[in-house]
Symmetry: D2
Subunit: 328 residues, 4 copies
């Protein structure tokens, strides 16, 4: 049986996302609420290996709930992939009397946490923080809702200029393996077509669709392209292809880039982060380990970390149909 | 058996909310997709009584998905509460060959629709549009998510000045019968206390909580008050009461007011509106009636209108606990 | 002749405004650039009296340029109005080897600085920080541009609901002594009428104007009321008066309140704060004192503090005429 | 002597910018105020050649003051560069009884207007609408202030992720011929270096500056690059160059692109547009022609169109110095 946890370490790892600070704050305050200590670990596994720790009390996380990024910073650690690296990290945790970990990040972060748990029987809980929403076991990852709003606001601005000039825009949004962002912002921003990794529309059907929309009287159009779409061309090649095969449109490209990862979290992400932090800490206190906290059917739930890593977050096929109907 | 619907009327009624335009657009485009006609009815039941109609094709709803308010306008109609008023409305619908209705609004709107259906056997579907989220049968009403973001952004600004001056702010947010907004923005904005209609904290416990927070080292505090809270004092009386009983704080009041109802809808509300519009129209085409489209466990579902009106949208008690822990 | 300044103290006083942090950052970094020391003084004159100081180097102001409020906090100090209070403050400055001051605030702040200078021959420079823009010697005070954007964005949201319901809204904006905010947001938000302290429109003419606008086909209207307007009624009394004398409108009131003071500063305010901070520090280094840094004809300029305090920042009468024409 | 103007045509041409709609509204309402007619000309000179006109009354411009883009649409017209094209345009104006023009756009727009005036003695007034602020005779072009805010908000988001990961970002902003945007957002967003067309920093000095900032303890840095900078490398080549010559940084690139042109105009741009529209129309009514309306020292002023086109809008060298000091 697990012994009672007395000091929890919290860290962020992998790509940052809005809501990570709110999750850190929640972990710290939940520890304070239960009268146990909390330690911030800087730069993810890298700081764990270096012993880059800082004690955090309830007041230390004041004023961060609405800040993007992560006050604990993030990094990808090659050294943690080696047994020696993990041994150093473990020793630093022991030295600091840390006896439980809350890891905020994505698949890579959780894989590291599972290996660490296996090797040292160290209690770990995961909180899914990534804008891509590509993690099994939660309907929403931290930062996803914020990123959707950031992207639709950017596209609304591009729409202003697109419709003033009767232009066709290809807009690349984040999502290397998953089309969640593309699909939702495509509907939200009223896009003509949405190209996602999960579905190969095909170049010919894209052209057809654009021609049809032109004929139906639309003067400007927006096509959303997920980074990882499978159409076989990047967004600039798509532009060239369409320009060669359709003379009617003035075509432009916009790659939204890293601004999608930042910004003040939405109310949804702040509340979700707060709920997840509470559950992660209380799960450790209940003797649980190797679980990821998620949102399922609007309720906080846990999923074994290995399932979270192995499972696939499926896109909602209903949305593809809604998108088709909306671009009538 | 119901005859095949060929022309749908759509209207907005009651208080407006962000996402209503996106829902109108979705109803119109879904009609176009299924090759049936769509007619916009202005100012809710008022315009129905006056025959204030306008045919809407797919292009007519261009550029409205991101606009707050409702292009069809809204109103409360006393005349529709009379049999004579409803008879006039029915005649106008018959004259215009409208044989199905999509009503976007809240409880009052749905009650009107049910009576109308009962009297004239007229097919009606409801879409819940209100920022208050106080409707049974959907986890989210249209505009609720947008309002949450509008409110936390406003409170973030107030927080800047509160913490610069070590002040205590009472902030009144919308929600006459339901504390959904107050509870979520309270967590999202890091409020010290949240006063909602569903729970009576009591004045003495409020003072205690504020004193405790002051002692714990907090230099400024925010208390969220739902319009309909049960503490027995309005937000200005609360200020006076606290000032009389606690000398340490400079207390201020802010009533956020109608700005909470407007603004460009969030991505979530735009997608939800698009999905709901599709379901409402296709339900009519399937011969259904007297149902409200809602979101339940992230899926589009329908609930009988009478249940939607009679049922109560319960607040999530887990959030009250999270709020308590977060204000540690 | 003045001796060479070696250590500058910087503080914020009076009501906070967006851009104060950017100004603090600029003062600190300009000191670092010139290799002199800089000390932050907390809570304005109050902290000066208590010796609540903190050394600030270039890195200490990282990440604050885009934050509303003031990291040095602000307060109004009764004790500084007494000779004893000022004597204590002076002693603390001497003890800390501070030999020059940059005061960021408004009229009250500058008056305090002048008295302090007179009594102790202590070099002082002022930077105008207030959203009201009511200071002579600068076309723009810090925070004014940000507040204008905050207010028009709020009114845009109210407009959504006003035009959905054919309502008349009275919106109270900040500006106790000056109509700058009201006049600009009135034009920027397309208001029907603007009531400012500098001009008494008269109740009868207000009614006439509203009737005329109703007749001209406007379905909703917005009237901006500056806090300090001279029409003799507050915004709620105005509502009652108009409702009694005009039956056609459903009238509502919104008091925007303290959210107007907060928020991330606009680019304009960040750049202005940066320029003002440089000029304030370099003026002290040049042996100057008792001056306020301002923006005049787009150029950084200085004005004697006593003129800044005594002078009146006139509103631009051209804007009143533009407003009249725009509400045609 | 010029005959009295009775009907004014207004159009937008060239790249769109936020505030164009507010300017159109102002032109239309000022005409209504003076009881003269106003006609909207679609797609700039292209629509003039085709006679694509629409009468506009005061109510027709309702609800557009806060919209980005241009309701009259914009285009670049090759045909207007030919005498035949201009002859057609002139005939359409005569047929419609239009006897004065207000042209909203940039250098190309004004050049077209001057040639047209010369050939047909047709009264024309110009309003400078472009986000680049690269027009002589006005301190601010329409849309410039809005673009500054759009860009700093985007960079604030990128800063979140940059500082979470200790990264160096090269961010390309608009400005093919002028560094106004780059210089101001560079200061406003706290950039380490700003590369603009007006000044060639040199690659070696850029490296030095980045090394120095790294040594001074900065963990992340942002370099703003104007589209038209003269350093001889595009933003992606810059990234490669820096990565080859500095190992300490993880370098990323972001090209902000067309979102910079859109969005709801700032209060400043709305007020400026309103003032400019009044002046443009009243100048025509006063018998003036071939002038551009501008803002000089906060006052509305006019400049001959040929000077506006030939002159150069100089950047403020003070800002370069402020930027250097701020990156201490």
């Amino acid at each position: 049986m697990s012994k009672k946890i007395k000091k929890i370490g919290v860290f962020t790892s992998g790509g940052d996302s809005p809501g990570m600070n709110a999750a850190i704050r929640s972990v710290v305050r939940t520890c304070a609420f239960h009268n146990i200590e909390c330690v911030g670990i800087y730069r993810g596994y890298e700081g764990m290996i270096e012993g880059d720790f800082k004690p955090m009390d309830a007041r230390s996380v004041k004023g961060i709930i609405n800040k993007g990024g992560t006050v604990l910073k993030s990094a990808r650690s090659l050294e943690f992939m080696t047994p020696e690296g993990r041994k150093k990290a473990h020793q630093h945790l022991l030295d600091a009397n840390i006896d439980g970990l809350v890891a905020i990040g994505g698949d890579g972060t959780f894989t590291g946490a599972m290996i660490f748990n296996e090797e040292f029987d160290f209690p770990v809980m995961g909180i899914p923080g990534t804008i891509d929403n590509d993690i099994f076991g939660t309907s929403h990852t931290l930062g996803y809702d914020t990123a959707l709003n950031t992207v639709v606001e950017a596209i609304d601005k591009i729409r202003d200029t697109a419709s003033s000039h009767n232009r066709l825009f290809f807009i690349e949004v984040m999502g290397r393996d998953a089309g969640h962002i593309a699909l939702n912002v495509g509907i939200g921003a009223g896009a003509e077509e949405i190209l996602i990794p999960e579905e190969d529309l095909g170049l010919e059907r894209l052209l057809e669709s654009l021609r049809r929309s032109k004929q139906s009287g639309k003067s400007s159009s927006i096509v959303i392209v997920a980074e990882g779409d499978k159409i076989g061309k990047n967004v600039f090649e798509l532009k060239d292809y369409v320009e060669e095969n359709m003379i009617e449109y003035d075509v432009r490209v916009s790659v939204l880039g890293h601004m999608q990862r930042g910004g003040s979290p939405s109310c949804f992400d702040r509340v979700l982060a707060s709920r997840m932090g509470v559950k992660a800490v209380e799960s450790l206190l209940d003797g649980k380990t190797n679980l990821m906290v998620g949102l399922l059917s609007d309720k906080i739930a846990v999923t074994p970390l290995d399932q979270a890593v192995k499972g696939k977050s499926e896109i909602n096929m209903e949305l593809l149909r809604v998108s088709d109907i909306m671009s009538t």
